[in-house]
Amino acid sequence: MDITVNILLTIATAATPLLIAAIGELVVERSGVLNLGVEGMMIMGAVGGFSAGYLTGSPWIGLLAAIAMGAVFSLLFAIMTLSLATNQVATGLSLTLLGLGLSGMMGTSFVGQPGARLPNLDIPGLTAIPVIGRLLFGQDPIFYISIALTAGVMWFLFKTRTGLTLRSIGDSHTSAHALGIQVIRYRYLSVIFGGACAGLAGGHLSLVYTPQWVENMTAGRGWIALALVVFASWRPWRVLAGAYIFGAVWIGQLHAQAFGIPVPSQLLSSLPYLATIVVLVLISRNKRLTMMNTPASLGQPFVPDR
């Protein structure tokens, strides 16, 4: 029983950074902007969070620093693509490359240092309940944030007027502009929100997952988050499902490798990717629904004529 609980907990820990980064990117893409710089913003969040936590000794300050770092770094992307109307794909890719390089440079002196770890939740009485206690009341704070974030984004996008406006901009920025909606302002805020989420996801890696700094420690998670958004056809609950499927198969294959089952490890390592794609493709079979949820103006620069 204890082993099961432990496995479930590790799955949640593996899924959380993917979920947060993907939910942030989902909001960005719903506004019609394609930011391929998730990996870069994530690693900047990781190094920012670690260094602030290490220098102040407080993982909470580290957490705030990770969010701020991601947001500030995404602002660079926003200025380039929204104010200067550069190509979003190229700018996003350079953001990732810049982030990986810059974080490596900033983190040189932190390599091998023990970092501050965010404590897990501990509610007397509740956390001690067998099985569900630790699952529901004993995880790290970012796990709860990730769930709240998903629910919050769902509510925001589909239940509020502002969310409707954001989706309309993603559907057609020219129509939105014609109605007098401040397209660029909405997109700025979306990109910064996405950056803050990616930063938080990076902070999860360096403050919870493995509380230390290792160069390139995001190890492609930003790219997985990006893929999740597309395969989840821009719907929050599917992003959640995708992140957890990925996390579950990831942890599962690690255990399988540890048991030494006679399947090539390369095949096992590729399983999480395969499983996630297959499941998400299956649930997005409905072409019509997918079409409705795809932001039609995704990736197109918007330059209003004046």
């Binding site: 007027r161 409707l164 406006t165 989706r167 309309s168 559907d171 057609s172 020219t174 129509s175 939105a176 502009h177 014609a178 109605l179 007098g180 909606i181 072409k287 019509r288 079409m291 409705m292 949820n293 795809t294 039609a296 209003p304 004529d305 004046r306």
Partner: protein, 521 residues
Amino acid sequence: MSANQDGANLLEVRGLTKTFGTLTACDHIDLNVAKGEIHALLGENGAGKSTLVKMLFGTLEPNSGEIFWNGQAVTITNPGFAKKLGIGMVFQHFSLFEALTAAENIALSLDDGSPISTIAAKARALSYSYGLPLDPQSLVGDLSVGERQRIEIIRCLLQTPQLIILDEPTSVLTPQEADKLFETLERLRSEGKSILYISHRLEEVKRICDRATVLRHGKVVGHCNPRKETASSLARMMVGNDVPTVVRAPAEGIETAQPLLEIRALSRKPATPFSIPLRNINLTVRAGEVIGIAGVAGNGQGEFFESVSGEVPQQDAASVRIRGKDAGGLSITGRRLMGAAFVPEERLGHGAAPRMKLSENLLLSRHATDGKVFVGAGGMVKSDAIYAAAQRIIKAMDVRKSAPDPEAAALSGGNLQKFIVGRELDRRPSVMVVNQPTWGVDAGAAAHIRQTLIELARCGSAVLVISQDLDELFEISDAIAVMHNGELSKPLPIAEATFEKIGLLMGGAEPGHAEHALETS
């Protein structure tokens, strides 16, 4: 200049100017709209009408000039401010969001925080009271163009505007839908609202408008009472000189002529969730005749053209036959080699590669059919021959351009269309299929294109024209068929065709045509 003092003018525009680079789209425009009148803004494509109303609605910023609203000078900086003043706009190119419902679309333009369900109920009530029934829950992507326009109108009316600007509202409607719109406009006028009505259709301006301001090349060339003018005097004001009339000699012996283009039981599944399937289309175009296909935009004309041209080949090779041979499985080039020629609707991207020269565009479409002339030994391109051919087409079609061999994108829409049509006509094709031959082309050039299409047919070719412009189809066709919801009606000989009959078919009123999905009032 001072503002109008008696307060009868709702809107006054003085010397409004807008330039884009070296082009002056609007040049010192003066305009008065009185309370409770329908005021027409007349002009050809590119005369500056849309630019003017965009400045009135705050989506474009004028370079100079003044706008007075109820006698007060105002600077309209954004559409939100225009709406606050009481200006509502029904756009020409719809400003709707396809992936959202009608109610959500309406909510987006209303600034109050009321819930979507309240807005939906209000929209439904208002739409029925004006006889423009609307289902607020329907997805815009699923709606016909006429239905989409209802959403635009209802959305505009819900803002209780004083002035409603309608930009080319009837270009997408059937004649019956247009009648319904005119009733609505007359009712709005009787309620004291002012309407600025933009159009290049003279008959409807004569019918409903109280006054007209005529624009040409960005300048106001006259104010008049359209009811006291004739269609040809209005046209002369708009165009600047007399428009040549198209002559159509009656076609003789068509029934026995050889069928050059045959379409047999052509069906096609919808390519995307929002597109139209083709349902069992049959049509024969014989040597010497022009067949027109009418229909409201988005009823499958685009899909039909793609299937006939070979942009999308068919499974069933016999579904398209050119000069008596199966062509359904062939590509565009294959069909061209059989003697067919095609002019698609989109000029830039389909009809021509925008960043390539006219001569290069000529080679792109005719390298196979005119291989011997344009391509020499070892696949080397014969630039001189191509250049000479391009110049011949430019001369024959009177294409106006700024350089000897400019890029396609450097030409105005009308001139590029003349070149594209000329490029195909130059081959003397035995089958010619044209989608929207004169969309956005000025009146003189349009008459020229129409005349050449008729002449091509009279020389023994089969000509098929798809158009939304009913006047055009009545001018050039020997028979008109109507496309509705992916089905094609039987061609009606021009002697029997009337606007009313064609309009009913466009609305889907024929046995065998699917009933319109929406409930009628």
